[in-house]
Symmetry: C2
Subunit: 338 residues, 2 copies
């Protein structure tokens, strides 16, 4: 195989979140203020615990999608600030409840709230943030936004329950797995994007296009996340891998490796994932099996497919800074694997 | 002391839920149909688990309050059906999350959902029911109803968190305890009643009056519940007592018995409630202490005070079947102790 020749002076541009940050950075500062403000409660444990998870809470991707899609639709008001905070509250509530659910000890290397404070406050503070999200939406006053986010919330919990029901099933059909991903992860991406058009009072065509963009981006994002959890490369970078494996959670790389494996390999997957009987060295063996069947590479290929659909979903919108930033998010979500 | 002389043929009328059932029975059947219908989900575990808790879920008191207050306000449409179901969903979600929180094994003598299915599904199905409640409200289309129930939901979870923060504190001031009760229990009673006037498009005066009625009824209800849990009489009837004691939860009878007790008694309460160190015979001793200080009787007296305020809150409404039924509910909630 010939090496790709790198042209001098034309360093390949790496997709990043930078254009999105440029686009919505000012709004994001306001969203962060709103988040701090709305966490306030006469029960001191609420801002304490919520502050912990929101501070350690990653990239604010979902609220940034609301900010960026509103911008894409040419809106220049301020309604996106509160509603982006509401989206982040729904996400945070679901993380808090997910940590209870998963009995997971670590999230992004930090101790999760339920380890620090116990399951009980995590459930209740999640409930509080969830209610607060709806209070913010009521204050905004759009029944359509309320409809979209109430639907998304119901679908997210349905997705989480479906995941529980299929958790250890290594023979789960890929399309059933995608149905879970669409519900538990992509529904909130879809809603966060759709309301951008709603806030800007654009028509159904724009709302539907942004919903489809968000949904496909969300599926791609989750499939890449699944794959990162079995990535030798991530492990080399010192990142935590193997969370899903330890929680005996089937994800796309496992489903592909199982269906492509021989009987000895399938016995391995059934023991470790279905029966939850894991020994030292099992995670390393799992990573080798996944790579040997190219399950890792092909899961990313699947993600690319959804990424391509996401990009095409933006077709009806005019070119410009906002559209470029959103396209870059798609590429970044996929290429962060490497 | 002279005995009360019972006049022949004039058996004292016992307050009951019967007039309320007469008033709203037909509507309640429709509410139950709506509940079954709206529990439906493609995740089979959701109707299964939700069905269990809703079926074992007591008297439907909160949705009946919405039905009755709507009737009190002269409304003759159908909006109260869906919204009463939404109220019951919020209540059920909070019960499901409360059982996780309390690590309690039994609710009204039945195994709780988290014992049968585990904590994880209980949290997620609670989230689903909560989201579904908001979907129903969005479909109804009243931002004012959404505002009232979103506020109530936030206050309920604040109350639950405050309860966690004060759980084992036998020196909690009575008024702090009442603040917790007002939030965790009475807020939903208040909201369930207030929306009766909102549905009927009555003015703020009626809305405020019904909210006050519901809040006072809710506090009375909770104080009686607290007292029943230490009732020798209930134990004699074969009912479960001592749940709060085993969960080391301070309630009004304990607070009164502690503040009236001598040093030896206070040591007992600190050991059993604050330190959670309980032995055989401790519950029986707790009941004796509570009765010896008349803490049982005086907690009910406190409940009567709130009951009286609840009844007076109905003053601005015309006499009639609905008002009598609601007054009887107040009396029933208090007199069920005997």
């Amino acid at each position: 195989m010939a090496d790709v020749i790198q042209l001098e002076g034309a360093a390949p541009r790496r997709p990043s979140m930078e254009p999105l940050m440029q686009l919505v950075g000012d709004d994001l500062i306001k969203v962060n203020h709103t988040i701090l403000d709305k966490m306030h409660s006469r029960a001191p444990l609420i801002p304490q615990l919520a502050g912990h998870i929101i501070a350690s809470g990653g990239k604010r991707l979902r609220p940034m999608l609301t900010l960026a899609t509103t911008r894409l639709c040419g809106y220049t008001g301020e309604r996106q600030i509160g509603l982006a905070a509401a989206v982040e509250f729904i996400h945070t509530a679901s993380l808090l409840h997910d940590d209870v659910v998963d009995e997971s000890d670590l999230r992004r290397g930090d101790a999760t709230a339920n380890v620090l404070w116990g399951n009980q406050p995590s459930v209740l503070v999640g409930d509080f943030l969830f209610s607060r999200a709806f209070q913010i939406m009521v204050q905004d006053g759009s029944l359509e936004v309320l409809r979209v986010l109430a639907n998304a919330s119901a679908v997210i919990s349905e997705g989480e329950v479906m995941q529980l029901e299929t958790l250890n099933n290594v023979e789960l059909p890929e399309e059933k797995y995608l149905e879970v991903v669409a519900a538990k992860t992509a529904a909130l991406f879809a809603a966060a994007c759709r309301i951008g058009a709603t806030i800007a009072s654009r028509g159904t065509a724009e709302e539907d296009a942004l919903e489809a963009f968000g949904r496909n981006l969300g599926v791609a994002f989750q499939l890449v996340d699944d794959t990162l959890d079995y990535s030798q490369h991530q492990a080399t970078l010192g990142k935590t891998v193997g969370d899903d494996f330890r929680e005996c959670k089937v994800t796309l790389p496992v489903l592909l490796a199982y269906s492509r494996g021989d009987e000895a390999e399938r016995t391995f997957w059934r023991r470790t994932i279905s029966d939850g009987d894991q020994k030292d060295g099992d995670l390393e063996h799992a990573i080798i099996l996944i790579e040997s069947h190219n399950a890792h590479r092909d899961a990313i290929e699947r993600a690319r497919h959804y990424g391509a659909m996401a990009r095409d979903g933006l077709g009806i919108f005019p070119d410009g800074e906002a559209k470029r930033a959103l396209t870059d998010v798609v590429d970044f979500c996929i290429e962060r694997v490497y």
